[in-house]
Amino acid sequence: MAAFTFDGSSVPFDSGDSVLLALRKAGTIPGGTLCFAGDCPHCVATVDGVSYVRMCQVSCRDGMTVEPHPVGGAPPLPDGTTAHTAPLQIRHCDLVVIGQGESGSAAAAEAIARGRRVITLDSKQGADAIGIYAGLTVLARSQYGLERIHCDDVVVATGAAEIQPVCTGSDLSGIYTARAAEYLLAHGVDLGTVVAVGDPPPGHASVSGQLVRFEGEGRVAAVVTRDWDGTEHTHPCDTAIVGLGLHPRDALFRMARDLGVTVVGDAAIDATIPPPPQAGTICPCANVTADDVKNVWDRGFHEMELMKRATLAGTGTCQGMACLPHLRSLLADLGGTVQPPFTARPVTKQITFGEISAGAHLRAYPRTALDGEHRRLGAEMDRIGGWWRPWTYGDTEGEYWAVRNGVSIGDVSTLGKMIVTGPDSAELLERLYPTRIAGIKPGRSKYVLILDERGYVLDDGLVCRDGEYEWFLTFTSSGATFAEMWVRDWAESWELDVRILNRTMSLGAINVTGPHAKELLERVGLSDPPSYMGHASAQIAGIDCRVFRLSFTGELSFELHHAIADSVELWRALLDAGADLDLRPHGIDALLKLRLEKGHILVGQDSDFDSTPRRLHHEWAVDLSKEFFVGKAATIRTNKAPLNKQLVGLTMDGPAPHEGAVIWSDGDYNGYVTSSTWSPVTEQSVLLGWLHLRNGELPTEATIEERRAIVSPVPFYDPDGGRARA
C-alpha cells in the first residue's frame, strides 16, 4: 500500500486521500478544531520541505515526507539547496471569478453569455487565489506554479467558513467543525462517541446549553455545557463536533474592495457574531488569548485595526479566519458596538520564497560592444554607472602610468550620447543649459551642466555643434536615460520643433589618451586631429568615427565615437598599432584616479541632491546674464544666501582615506569625503569632499581618519591644463 512518512513514521493512504484524512484514519490527529476546508491553521506542516502547508489541502503522494511544525515554534527556514523559483504563468481576461460554487458558477456563466473572457479559479480544483492587487491583478497558485492574471473585474465567490470554538480546551485534538465531521463520516472514519454542540451534521443531535469548555489530556474526553440557569453538564466523548455558525470567507474581497471587486454568495453574508469568549485562545496563530485582548483594551486600544497591531491577532497563518469573529464579538462586548473586520492584505496563504520570486528578474546591466574584449584581456568586470565595465585589467598602477607617460585606450561607450536637430534645436538647448549655446561654432564643443528647476546639478556633459541645426550632446553614463526624458519633456512642454535621438546604446566610444595619443592615431589614419574641445569626422583604421578632442584624464585625449558594430575592430586596430608604444587599456579604477588628480567631479558621487554650481565651484559654467535657462531663478535666489558648504580639494600624506569618511574640524563634524585616491604623480593622497564654512570661511585644514588634511586648490595635477591642450 502506498505510504508517506509523517514525523518519521510510515502512514498508509488510500487513493485520493488528503494528508490530514490519511492521518486521521491512522489515528494521528493534530490539536485544535479541524475544519478540513483550508480555513483554520491547525493542520499546517512541512511537506517535502515546504512549510505552512495545510495537510487537508494536499493529496497524498507515495514517498512524500511530512513533518509537523515544532510545538510553540516556527519551522526551520529552507537551507537554500531545495528552494527553486516557481514557474510563472501570466494570463489576461475580462473577468476572474474566484470560487466555483453555486454563485461563482452563475457569475461566470452570465459573463460568458455576455461575451466576456472569463477565467475561473477554485481551490478545490487546484487553483487557489491568494491575492488581488491594483491593476487589477489576481495572484493564484496552481499546479502550474504561480499565476498572475490581469483583468478588468473580479468576482469573489469564496463561500463561508465555519466559526471555530474559543474556550478552555479548544486546543485539544478530536474536535471538528460540523462540515469536517460530515466529511470524515462520508469517508468512513469512525468518530467513536460523538458529542455535538450548536448545529450538528446530519444524523447527529446536539446537546443543549452553551459550550463552556472541552476537557481531556491532549485529546478531548468530554464537552462541558451550561444551561441557562447556570447548571453545567459534562458529556463524555471520543469526538466533539461544533456547529457555531458561519462567517464570510471574504479576505480577498476585503483586500480589494476599493478596487471595484464584487463579492457574491456566502462570501457576502453577514457574519455570525458568536458569544464573546471568556477564556481560551482567540488567535491560535499568534497565541492571543481572550485575556490578552482585554488587557490591550484596558490600555486604550479600542479600534479593531489597533487591536490587530497591538496583539498581532489576525496576522498569522490563517490571516484571521479563526480569530476574526471572536475579536469582533469581544470588542462588541467591551465597547458596545460591532466593529467591521480588519483590513486584509495579500497574500491570504503562506507562499514560498520560490513563489515570491516567480517572474522576478535582477536588474539588467547593459554591456558595451567591447565587453568580450575586456573579459578576454582578463579584466575584472564590475557594475559601474549602470553598465558592466572593466574595473581593472589587473595592474591599475601600470594602467595609470600608461596614460600619464605613454598612451592608453579606455572604453567609454557608456557615455550618454544624443543627436538633436530641428529648426528650434538651438532654442531648446539655450533654454536647457545654463551656459551660452548659440555661440558654439560648428566643429566646437562646450562643457555644460544640467540644472533642475531648483538650480541643483542634475548632470554634466558636452554640447557639440555639427551645423546650424545639428547638435550632438553627451551626458554621464548613469545620467543618460534620465537626460533623454529631461530633454524630451522640455521640448514637448515648450512645443519646440526638434528631432531627438538617443544614441547611447548605438554608438561605441574609445578614449585614446596619453602623451603619445596623437602619434597612435596618426598610425591609424588620423592626420588632421581636431584642436582642444573640437570635433570632426574621420576614418580611423578604416572605420567611420566622430573624433572629439577633450580630456578627462588630464592628458592629451581623443574620444572616437563609432557604430558599435565596429567597436571590436577599432579596439583591436588601436591595440595592434600601439603595441610598440607599450599601449595598454586602462580600467575604471585607473580612470577615477586620473580624473581625481585633475579635480573633475563625478555627478552623483561628488555632487549631492542639493549641489548648486556655486557649492561645486562651477559658477564658471553658469551665465546668469542669459535671459532664461532651467534653474536660473533658483540659482539667483540661492546665490543670495550665504554660502554654507562647498566641495573642496584636500591633500594628505599617507594612504587615501575611505570615500565617505567624516571630515572633522576642531573636533566637530564638518563634512565628508566624496572621492579619494593615492596620487602617484603628486605622491600624496588627493581628495574631494564637502566642507561647511565657519563664520563665512572655509577651514584651511581638517582631520580625516585621525590624520591631518590640507585644503588644497584643484586641479592637483597640471593646474594650467597644458598637457591636455598639448
Partner: protein
C-alpha cells in the same frame, strides 16, 4: 541566438514618416510616432529637412517559431500581446525592453544589443 542587426534609424516628424515610401522588401518598425527602425536596403525619401537618418547597429534580434515564442512570453510578459497578425508591440519582457514583430510565420524578437546577452539568459 540574437544577432546584431544593421539598418537605418530615422527620426522625423510624424507626418513625414506616415507619408514615406519604404524600399521594397524592407521591414519597417515604427518605434514611436517620430521614430522608425528600417531593416533593408534602398533609399528613403522623407519630407523633413531636419530628419535624423543614422546607421543603426544598436539592436539585436532573432526569429522565433510562434508557438515557442508565445509559450515563453506567457511567463515573461505582463502586458497583453496583440491578437491580430501582423502586429508590432514593445514593452518589458523578462524585465527587459523588448520589441516584438508578430506575423503568421514567426515572432521576431529585438532588443538593444547592449542587453542582448541578458535577454538570451532569460530566454528558453
Amino acid at each position: 541566438m540574437l544577432e546584431r542587426l544593421e539598418g537605418l534609424r530615422i527620426i522625423a516628424n510624424a507626418q513625414a514618416l506616415d507619408a514615406a515610401v519604404w524600399p521594397n522588401g524592407s521591414r519597417v518598425f515604427r518605434l514611436a510616432a517620430d521614430d522608425v527602425f528600417l531593416l533593408g536596403d534602398g533609399e528613403v525619401h522623407l519630407d523633413d529637412p531636419h530628419a535624423i537618418v543614422e546607421l543603426e547597429t544598436g539592436f539585436s534580434g532573432m526569429s522565433m517559431e510562434p508557438a515557442a515564442a508565445l509559450d515563453w512570453l506567457e511567463s515573461t510578459c505582463e502586458w497583453e500581446l496583440p491578437g491580430q497578425r501582423p502586429a508590432f508591440a514593445q514593452g518589458a519582457v523578462a524585465g527587459l525592453a523588448v520589441k516584438l514583430w508578430f506575423d503568421e510565420t514567426e515572432v521576431f524578437v529585438m532588443t538593444a544589443s547592449a542587453l542582448a546577452a541578458e535577454l538570451e539568459e532569460r530566454m528558453p
